[in-house]
């Protein structure tokens, strides 16, 4: 009798134990590390309480990094998510070659981010990069600049790379969900005289409500924790203009050996991700 009740645990335990040891416990270790003053090499460490967090609050680089992450969240929701939504709703209609399009859109997503960043850094190259060359060809040469080297444009330029890799993912998710929506609802709306915009707003968006919330959460988490694009291209430069929380934490940890301070930054990041996720889910689920 009791064996029946124990058996399921044998199936859960391997994965769960692994998860606890290598994912859950380290989170608490990171938090605890942040209350000390350790450089990773010394044999002993001093307890300094919340000093790292006070330092963090006054750290201009941290503020700048976090602001970049938040800008990235906003841009990711505004651009690839919206574009994905629009493209998906177009593709859900009577489009020839729907699969070809969605297949092509998804390809940037499977390319390693370090590769995407590298390729785009040539496109952005001030001298021979595709972007500037095309701008000059069509007579907009005065807009040409050193995209990734320009303090004002570096973050946005990088964000466009991120959007390039991400919009196909959004298209795929929304399209898959849209294909399970009843087409007769749309047909009825056309008969009633609704134009495409009205159909989009009143039918498509409410139907995709849960998926939109999900993609928003996923995008937010991604925009807060991303590292690859920044580090492979600009390493956070110029002058921290593309620094984000994870790249700052990386250089603190590995390049400056300020282990405990890096731990406090990680902890704050985790906290922000958790709270933003919960907030979005709460507001997304409210009307249900």
């Amino acid at each position: 009798m009791s064996l029946r009740k124990i058996v399921p645990y044998f199936f859960i335990l391997p994965g769960f134990l692994y998860f606890v040891i290598f994912m859950l416990y380290p989170i608490f270790q990171t938090v605890s590390l942040s209350f000390y003053n350790w450089d990773g090499l010394a044999r002993t460490k001093q307890f300094i309480g919340l000093k790292n967090y006070l330092r963090l609050v006054q750290d201009p680089i941290f503020h700048v990094s976090l602001s970049h992450n938040l800008i990235w969240v906003a841009l990711t929701i505004a651009l690839p998510l919206l574009i994905g939504l629009i493209l998906a709703s177009i593709l859900a209609g009577k489009i020839k070659g729907r699969n070809v399009f969605s297949t092509i859109y998804f390809i940037p997503h499977i390319i390693a981010l370090v590769v995407a960043g590298t390729i785009w850094s040539w496109i952005y190259n001030p001298i021979f990069g595709l972007l500037n060359v095309v701008l000059k060809e069509i007579g907009l040469g005065h807009l040409a600049r050193g995209w990734l080297g320009d303090p004002q444009w570096a973050l946005i330029s990088l964000n466009m790379v991120g959007n390039w890799t991400y919009f196909g993912f959004c298209v795929l998710i929304f399209l898959s969900f849209l294909q399970s929506v009843d087409p007769t609802v749309y047909e009825a709306a056309v008969v009633d005289g609704a134009n495409s915009l009205q159909r989009f707003w009143h039918i498509t968006i409410p139907a995709l409500r849960g998926t939109i919330v999900f993609v928003t959460v996923y995008s937010t988490i991604g925009a807060l924790k991303f590292f690859d694009l920044v580090y492979i291209t600009t390493r956070g430069g110029p002058f921290h203009k593309t620094e984000v929380v994870s790249s700052y934490m990386f250089s603190l940890f590995l390049r400056q050996n300020r282990v405990s301070y890096a731990a406090s930054i990680s902890t704050v990041l985790t906290g922000i991700i958790f709270s933003l996720t919960v907030t979005i889910l709460y507001f997304g689920w409210e009307k249900k």
């Binding site: 990171t30 390693a112 590298t118």
Partner: protein
């Protein structure tokens, strides 16, 4: 009467033209995005086959005489053959281990009853929110103490942990769809709990298993942050870190860097073309049923 007939005909025609215009506009939009999606890839491929001089001449032109030597130089001289091997040696076991743990746990969550099921599942779900920076510091020191920094095992172990939450989620979601009657008839035939998994569930889950394999392999192959922290020695670097090193060393040799990039993304793109359905299934399953 005639005037009304003519004007209504004219209205219908202009309506048809408007619809046609709308259709052309829509397809143009779709094509623009398709082109935007592909251009950087084409640039990478084309740049990789140029010589340095050809590159500065005209970025847009395709190479007239493909310089395959670039690939040989990258593969041999720049050690990319080794990096490629490393990526495989790390990504394959990671994928298999995630599959193993996730299938077992997913089965239990989907089909078995036990105390604390909801809470434990919820905890796994929390794992989806945990970013690498949150755990990298203690993991680094743990691996250091175990003396497995700069080894394959040292990279595989945390990567499996990072892939687990999604794997468990995917497997659970898929297994839930399997009809109870199938399991009941197996139980009547005398199968125990484990046999139900191996003889009934796994064989018919091959789409979901393939999807998980494909997704996890891609994530492991493309991962960068984790190996940057854990692997410092050149002989153990996977392709992504190898690229970073390579760029540092060959900063302006763009054709060679392009060749390196192509080497990194070609395996995954090839995998994608053969297993498209599985990729799509893996990505969308989590979103739709979640």
């Amino acid at each position: 009467m005639k005037r009304e007939a003519i004007s209504s005909l004219a209205k219908r025609k202009s309506y048809q033209w408007r619809i046609r215009g709308e259709r052309i506009g829509v397809y143009a939009l779709l094509v623009i995005f398709a082109v935007a999606a592909l251009i950087p890839i084409i640039i990478a491929l084309s740049t990789s086959l140029k010589t340095g001089g050809q590159l500065y001449e005209n970025i847009l032109a395709l190479p007239t005489a493909p310089e395959w030597k670039n690939y040989i130089k990258v593969w041999i001289n720049a050690n990319f053959s080794r990096y490629f091997l490393n990526s495989i040696i790390v990504s394959a076991p990671t994928t298999l281990m995630v599959l193993f743990f996730a299938a077992l746990a997913g089965y239990a969550f989907a089909k078995l009853k036990f105390f604390g099921k909801r809470s434990i599942f919820f905890i796994f779900l929390l794992g989806l929110m945990i970013p690498v920076p949150s755990i990298i510091i203690p993991i680094y020191f743990l691996l250091k103490d175990l003396k497995i920094l700069n080894t394959y095992l040292g990279l595989i172990i945390p990567q499996v942990a990072l892939g687990l939450p999604f794997g468990v989620f995917l497997m659970t979601t898929f297994f839930r769809e399997i009809p109870e009657e199938l399991l009941d008839s197996a139980r009547i035939d005398g199968c125990n709990t484990l046999q139900i998994l191996t003889k009934i569930i796994l064989p018919i889950s091959s789409p979901a298993l393939k999807a998980l394999v494909v997704i996890e392999f891609m994530w492991a192959w493309n991962s960068y942050f984790l190996p940057m922290v854990i692997i410092q020695r050149d002989e153990f670097k996977p392709l992504t870190v190898g690229l970073d090193t390579f760029i540092g060393r060959y900063t302006i040799n763009y054709p060679m860097i392009a060749a390196a990039c192509v080497i990194i993304f070609v395996p995954i793109v090839v995998l994608y073309f053969f297993l498209q359905k599985e990729f799509v299934r893996g990505i969308t399953f989590g979103a739709i049923k979640g």
